[in-house]
Amino acid sequence: MDASQWFHSGLLSEPALMLGFIALIGLLLQKHSAQKILSGTIKTMLGYKIMQIGANEAGSSLSNMSAVIQNSFQIIGIIPHNETITAMAQMNYGEEIAVIMLVGMILHLIIARLTPAKYIFLAGHHMLFMSALLASLLLSSALNTWQTMLVGGIVLALSMTAAPMISQLYVRKVIGGNQLAIAQFNSVGYLLAGFVSSLFKSNKQTEPKELKRTKLSSLFQDHMVVIFIFTFLLFAIASVFSPSGSIESMFAGHHFIVVSIIQATWFAGGCYIVLAGVRMMLSEIVPAFKGISDRVVPGAIPALDSPVLFSYAPIAAVTGFLLSFAGGLVAMILMMQLQYTVIIPGVIPNFFSGGAAGVIAYHIGGKRGLVMASLLHGFVLSLMPVFLVSLLSNLGYLRVTFADLDYSVIGIIIHTIVRWLM
């Protein structure tokens, strides 16, 4: 077996190895100790496996939930949750996802080095989610594996530069400078929130008052508890509306409250494992990426996860989250009237995207801007994924999809371009 064969049949065909290889290169480049290099490489591969295990568990519970929802409301309910859809997409397209991520990171560094767009996208989990979207999308449009890896890598690199750049139009005003940017694929949402909010700017030109740094209500901070409560309520409500006796016959005669508790722990448990896997997988790759970018991109602007904005206006973040979720419920009710496939607003995307959109809206347009922009943001955030679902049909009949707005927008744009070219 020659080197290229070995490379192709061994390294590229197994994503865990591919990701371990990326971590290994990163650790070598940073000149870590042999022990650290070994443990970092192993943990990256381990993290990938853990994510797969979690995806199985979360998926089993999700299919139970969608059966109950379908049985009660005669609709297909789809939950937007990036971690779960990514973990499921990697079951089929793991190798493409890993290569797209590697190509994307390298091209992103080149863009930052050579152009004035100095943003370095440091939210590794969002890179992973976008790679998963691009792999699923491009392979559905009849591109072959190599084309998918190349086109996917280019699109990933461009979106990693574009997302912080677009959100920066308004984020700059919140943080009062260019010292950092936001790395979350919801830039279209932030643009929308900022623009809508600017329509409500009062003429008095009063600066938004410096809000006292109060802490966010702790109720929403523990995301596993939030996912449990949300899944429990969804199950319980769907069960109440189900034809009498059907829950008992589906779940071995158990009372629906018991079923809801078991299923909610199952789903939250699966999500927790996915999250732990993603964390372990990225905790070597992201530092290496940052280490390299520090050296090759002078004057880089670090783009960080959206909660970085929360401390600039914590109350606006909570308000933005709740109103965004309310807007999502309106979108869900509308979809229920119109069609069979319905997006059920997810708590986690509304927390991260809705919260940050709330902070932006409050800084641009005060309280009135915050209310109007958040409601509209939530409405669009929950509506858009419905257009994405059909584009990802070759993933199978999944009851979960990508959440934040850029995923839907980029998905639709890329799909249109590829269809037009082919």
Partner: protein, 99 residues
């Protein structure tokens, strides 16, 4: 054990960035202190003595009495991070043990 635990909501983004910043600072100061990042849900299992997080999640971290919690308003500023760490009794004790 000299260990700092960094926490955020999902344990993916913010906490990792703070961890990298702390690790860089430890190298600068020549200190051998392990730094791990995690999510709010699993925080208790780490049995941490010194926790660093973004200030907006401070409320959700249970204060068990013998734990020091540092909430950062700015997660990227290393000088500010150093200033906040230097106010921690435990951290100062670790420094004095190293010298």
């Amino acid at each position: 054990m000299k260990q700092i635990i960094v926490a955020c909501n999902s344990g993916l983004g913010t906490s990792l960035m703070i961890r990298l910043n702390i690790e860089a600072l430890m190298r600068e100061l020549g200190l051998e202190i392990a730094v791990e990042h995690t999510d709010v849900t699993s925080l208790k299992a780490h049995n941490a003595k010194l926790i660093v997080c973004s200030s907006y999640i401070m409320d959700s971290i249970e204060d068990t009495g013998d734990t020091e919690i540092i909430g950062l308003d700015d997660i990227m500023d290393r000088q500010y991070l150093k200033h906040e760490l230097m106010r921690s009794k435990l951290f100062l004790k670790w420094i004095s043990e190293t010298e």
